[in-house]
């Protein structure tokens, strides 16, 4: 889908939702936009536009976003860091990435009273922490890896072609693999141990696919595990670690 068209659809949907005022159960996108306007954002329009895309594609939940925005508003961190956190989520949506992982980490960091700069940028030193900036890069790396393996491709008309996964299933796989890579890295694992990383990915995908009402289908897990190789996962991490 081209970006201009996506934005148009998002704005239209946003208008309908604002008019109805009752969509999405608790909070509405309108509530999120109102909360955002209280933050005095330098990139307000870009963020609102990107969130609109997120709401329309179902990648963003107004309930979660309102909670995140309110927590940011209440935090004593700098304005730049607050906006930086929202901007990473917005840029991820613009870049067509799933954002659950980013929102979850932001929420956890805020709940733990971690400084916003650390939530955003991570730290080096005795404890390795990945910030949202690096997590977004890992999501991007995983997404590009799966694209390159033909696990998801899009036809000219924006429709998924045969043998590829629909967007929700694809997002879920990308999120889970990226989360494994982040966990592995934060636990001090070396990216050069590709087989260990692959094993962690395999365990995660297979465990999820074996649950009752599995969040990841067994055939999706098998497809991914068949096509990716340990070295691919090493490359994704190395690109981010620098």
């Amino acid at each position: 889908m081209n970006r201009g068209f996506g934005i148009l659809v998002a704005l239209l949907l946003g208008a309908v939702i604002l008019a109805s005022g009752t969509a999405f159960g608790g909070a509405t996108p309108g509530d999120v936009y109102r909360a955002l306007s209280g933050l005095e954002l330098a990139h307000h329009d870009e963020i609102v536009q990107a969130f609109g895309i997120g709401f329309s594609l179902g990648r963003l939940s107004p309930d979660r976003m309102i909670q995140l925005v309110n927590r940011l508003a209440a935090d004593g961190g700098t304005q730049a860091d607050k906006e930086g956190i929202l901007l990473v989520v917005a840029r991820a949506l613009e870049d067509d990435l799933p954002v659950d992982l980013l929102i979850d980490k932001a929420e956890e960091g805020l709940a733990r009273n971690i400084p916003l700069g650390v939530i955003l940028n991570g730290t080096v030193g005795e404890t390795r922490i990945l910030g949202l900036v690096q997590r977004k890069q890992i999501l991007e790396g995983v997404r590009d890896l799966l694209y390159s393996k033909g696990i998801f491709c899009v036809s000219g008309k924006g429709q998924a072609v045969a043998t590829s996964l629909p967007i929700e299933r694809f997002d879920r796989i990308v999120t889970e693999i990226a989360d494994v890579l982040c966990d592995y890295t934060e636990s001090g694992g070396s990216p050069f141990d590709g087989h260990l990383i692959y094993e962690q990915v395999r365990i995660r995908l297979e465990t999820l696919s074996q649950l009752r009402e599995p969040p990841i289908l067994a055939e999706d897990a098998a497809l991914v595990l068949e096509r990716i190789e340990p070295g691919d996962l090493t490359s994704v991490i190395l690109k981010v670690l620098g």
Binding site: A111, R112, T127, R128, I129, E186, R204, L211, E213
Partner: protein
């Protein structure tokens, strides 16, 4: 990309790398001078400790020690709890917290934390947006519990005991590091378990 802008980008990137790591070089001259003057042998106990605790080599060892000690505590705790915990979704727990019945497709997951003397215990995780869900201890025996309905999936969580986070639940399926601390991990909806 223009030639001169590439040159500049390279210079900036390389300089930025060094300036970000400036803390590593703080006092290097003193360390070198001290070593050369032979006042403190480099292989001294302090240096050994420093190296053990250094981020790239020591962190793993220190982590292992912490994990080992924690595992020992859990073994004792596990033996104690083994008697008390009913399997998730089955049997009648001795310490239950009233919650709404789990909606269809969800499991009622038991969270249990021994915290004698604590004033408040809660569980936070990615199932509640990391906002505290309180545990209760109605009979005052120090074992705090909550039952939370969750749909099948993987959940990260930690307990908060009087404001302090505790991320190593003996009942967890796994542990991960997050923001330098541990989170517990539970898979809900394993076949043969739960609802």
């Amino acid at each position: 990309m223009r030639e001169d802008s590439l040159d500049q980008l390279l210079r900036d990137t390389l300089k930025q790398e060094v300036s970000q790591e400036a803390f590593r070089l703080e006092g290097l001259e003193d360390r070198v001078v001290t070593e050369l003057a032979g006042r403190v042998p480099r292989s001294g106990l302090g240096d050994l400790l420093k190296r053990l605790l250094a981020p790239t080599r020591g962190a793993r060892i220190a982590q292992l020690a912490v994990v080992g000690a924690t595992a020992a505590i859990f073994l004792v705790l596990g033996a104690f709890l083994g008697e008390r915990i009913a399997p998730v979704g089955g049997g009648a727990p001795r310490h239950s917290t009233p919650v709404a019945a789990a909606p269809a497709g969800e499991d009622e997951v038991l969270f249990i934390m021994p915290a004698p003397g604590a004033k408040s215990v809660a569980v936070v995780g990615n199932f509640n947006g990391w906002s505290p869900t309180p545990l209760s201890d109605p009979d005052g025996d120090g074992i705090w519990t909550a039952r939370i309905p969750l749909s099948p999936g993987r959940y990260e969580y930690a307990f908060v005991v009087d404001g302090h986070w505790w991320g190593q639940d003996p009942l967890a399926d796994d542990y991960v590091r997050s923001f330098g601390q541990y989170n517990s991990v539970r898979y809900v909806g394993r076949v043969g378990e739960g609802a």
